[in-house]
């Protein structure tokens, strides 16, 4: 019975595909085996579908103003042409309109938790999470500042975060700030190499809206913020390596390899990404920077045989750009007993 209750509370997260894979699987298993929950789930799915078909209407200005006044937020005038929201936010705006009109909603409160920012020390969630229901108003207007040390470094699911901003209020201390919108504006403050902060930075670089300028900015910022520090977490370099391997945007890959080149720590994963970039990347600038990064490793005696073989292959490759070939040869020339 308690399981059914927890299950019902997780339905909104299930609807928005915000649950992690394990919990999602457990939820579906439960629904398949519990007729009552299955009925409720089907009803909720239908309601959700119908809500999706509602036209995208602005609430009447009078009601909207009154609502904003009640929660203490003055409507800001803007001459920005409205953004067409991504699906999740389209649902959110529709749901929010319903909430305003109906005086509250069960769903919206739950959807305010797509990123599981959990207190440190909480054991990993094996059961269906019973997220507290928050009033809809707070999910729209509230701004929270969270200390990175107090959040769980494990980011579950793939929360859709937007309007990412980076700042370093006092460059003389180790603290940095990362602000973003989930369903509310959140600012996470913490030490550069705090595990949660590192994970968030890595998440932004790897998962930020694929074409958003934020990703380029994130890489630039990471480069400025982390590279002077010899104790930079290897996870940052790994995230950059992942971007280098997977991003289809050539400008972003150039930035990623450029940042990687200046990273003080180089794991095997990073080396492999550099080797793969040198071998396969269609952009010559990426290959040049990958050669330079490997040359730096060669000079510090960190080259493994795979990297040497790839540099040798590149130096020999007839159809490769001559500059890449000569840089590869120069890198090999730095190998000494």
């Amino acid at each position: 019975m308690a399981e059914c209750s927890a299950m019902k509370e997780s339905f909104p997260l299930l609807l928005t595909e915000s649950l992690d894979a394990q919990t999602r699987e457990a939820s579906h298993l439960h629904i398949e085996n519990c007729a009552k929950c299955a009925d409720e789930w089907n009803g909720m799915k239908e309601a959700w579908r119908l809500m999706g078909e509602l036209p995208e209407l602005e609430p009447p200005a009078r009601i909207k103003q009154r609502f904003l006044a009640e929660i203490g937020v003055a409507e800001q005038k803007t001459n920005v042409v409205p953004f067409h929201r991504r699906p999740a936010f389209k649902w959110l705006s529709q749901a929010a309109a319903v909430v305003i009109l109906a005086g509250g909603s069960y769903f919206v409160g739950h959807r305010s938790q797509p990123i599981h920012v959990q207190p440190t020390g909480v054991a990993s969630v094996e059961r269906i999470p019973a997220a507290p229901i928050q009033p809809a108003a707070f999910s729209i207007a509230e701004t929270r500042t969270i200390d990175a040390a107090n959040i769980n470094p494990n980011i579950e699911g793939r929360p859709d975060i937007q309007n990412v901003q980076f700042s370093d209020v006092d460059p003389n201390d180790d603290q940095i700030q990362l602000a973003f919108d989930v369903t509310q504006h959140v600012t996470v403050t913490g030490a550069r190499n705090d595990k949660s902060m590192v994970r968030l930075m890595a998440y932004v670089m790897e998962n930020e809206d694929r074409m958003s300028p934020t990703r380029s900015r994130a890489i630039d910022w990471v480069r400025q913020t982390y590279t002077p520090d010899k104790s930079t977490s290897p996870e940052i370099a790994q995230a950059l390596a992942k971007v280098l391997r997977n991003d289809t945007h050539e400008g972003v890959r150039i930035k990623a390899v450029d940042a990687l080149k200046t990273m003080p720590t180089t794991s095997g994963d990073t080396r492999e990404a550099l080797i793969a970039a040198l071998k396969n990347d269609p952009n010559p600038a990426v290959r040049i920077k990958a050669v330079d990064a490997l040359a730096k490793l060669a000079a510090s005696g960190q080259l493994d045989s795979a990297a040497v073989d790839m540099l040798r292959q590149k130096a020999m490759q007839d159809d490769e750009n001559v500059y890449v070939r000569t840089r590869a040869a120069e890198a090999l020339g730095k190998i000494h007993p």
Partner: protein, 516 residues
Amino acid sequence: MTAIALFACASLLAAPVSHTERFVRDFPLDAGGTLWIEDPIGAVDVVGSDQDGVSVSVVKVVVAPEGTSLKEGREQTQVLMGGDAKSRLIRTVVNGSPAAKWKSNVAYVVRVPRATTVHITGQMGEHIKVTNIAGTVTAKNTNGEITLDSIDGPVTVDSVNGNIHFLTEARPSDPVQLTTVNGSIEVQVNGDSNLDWIAQSITGDFKTNLALRSPRIALNTMRGIVNGPGGPSLVTTAVMGDVFLLSRGGSPNEIRSVKMAVVRPAVPGPQATPVASLGVLQQQARVIETIEQPLVNGPFMYATKLGNFRIGEIRGLASIQTGAGQVYLGTVTGNCSVRSMGGPLELGDIYGDLNAHTEAGEILVRNARKGGELSTGGGTLHVIYAGGAISLHNGGGDIIVNQAVGAVEADTRSGDVMVTMDPRLHTQHVSVKTTKGNIVLNIGGRFAADIDATILTTDEEAAGVRSDFNGLTIKRDTFNGKTRVRATGKIGGGGEKIELYTEDGEIQITQQGVTH
């Protein structure tokens, strides 16, 4: 030799200790059998003889600062021998970490039957030398010279930084392939040898004192027939070094450059090229030439196959062409033309018309006073100030213009484009296209233009055009199966045309001074 070097090294340390171990092992090996040697840390000498079986002489030296490390070094440096009468394997296994305090060296002298097939893999050993073998020989290393003397079988040699010597009194009858990245190659054969010679080098030359018939050079490769047709192939690749093909016992004074002969066949007289000594090449740490000048008081025109340029100021026009290299020019008071087949370009204050292109690499221009045309095959293209119309083409990478006074035309295959127009401008033509990326156009509050901004995307819910300016009408439809978002309209009452086009990206038209 190695032991001496190690001892010399060790003498610099406080109270160094060393241990030298010598032993000989004999094994049966059939005629026509195979010998494999892997030795990452020492010299290898293999000599063919008429005697049966294999005889292996081993010298193992370990040097350390103290006894405990020495013991560890001795334990972690192992010589393994195995195989049977058809195939023998000799291996040096070193398990030390890079931080280990000890150093070791294992040198082999191996006698084998002449008909043996020999495969040697070295790494940092001081040399590999194979003499008097009639079977196939392959040798590979990273550093150290490789010498093959009197080898009658097929040969494949591959080195990273080592010179290669292939010497024989006979006329080769089997294919020979010699490859080194940073070393040079010397081949000495019987003067009557017929060979199909293919030589490759980016920075080096091909030199010979043999009769070479109709040599042809294309890019970095030369092909020619030595003496007469019908001979085996000789492929010599020295990426950054020279290639010598010499007649054994021939005159050094007759050595000539094939490149020079092909490029300038009419040059009279002997093209004598000094060689350190026959059979020995100087180790050449060849790097790309750098033309470095703080000031050129007049026009500067230079073309090179490979070269870096670093010039502080040119008082006149600049015309530079390089096959590959970095180009840095501080100030150019005249027109500036730079063509590079690869390598980054960094240009400072350019007074005249600017025209710069690189096949690969970044372009940074600090001040293009009259504007110009810039293009790269791939890399970030960044202009800090453009005083005139500027045209920017990028094969892949971002384009950034910090301040443009003139018209801007920019396109990139994949990358973001960020253009900031001079805040004092009232209107100016801008055309930006990216096939994959975002566009940010930053203009002053008084800027007037006719806007036509289009996004074509596979994402049905793609973000639209964001603008700080009123007056745009946004339409969304389907075009060729994709979602098309188009914003058109006049800002500031209308003016020059602004055309922005992206696929799979966003467009932002922002107003200077407005924070977001």
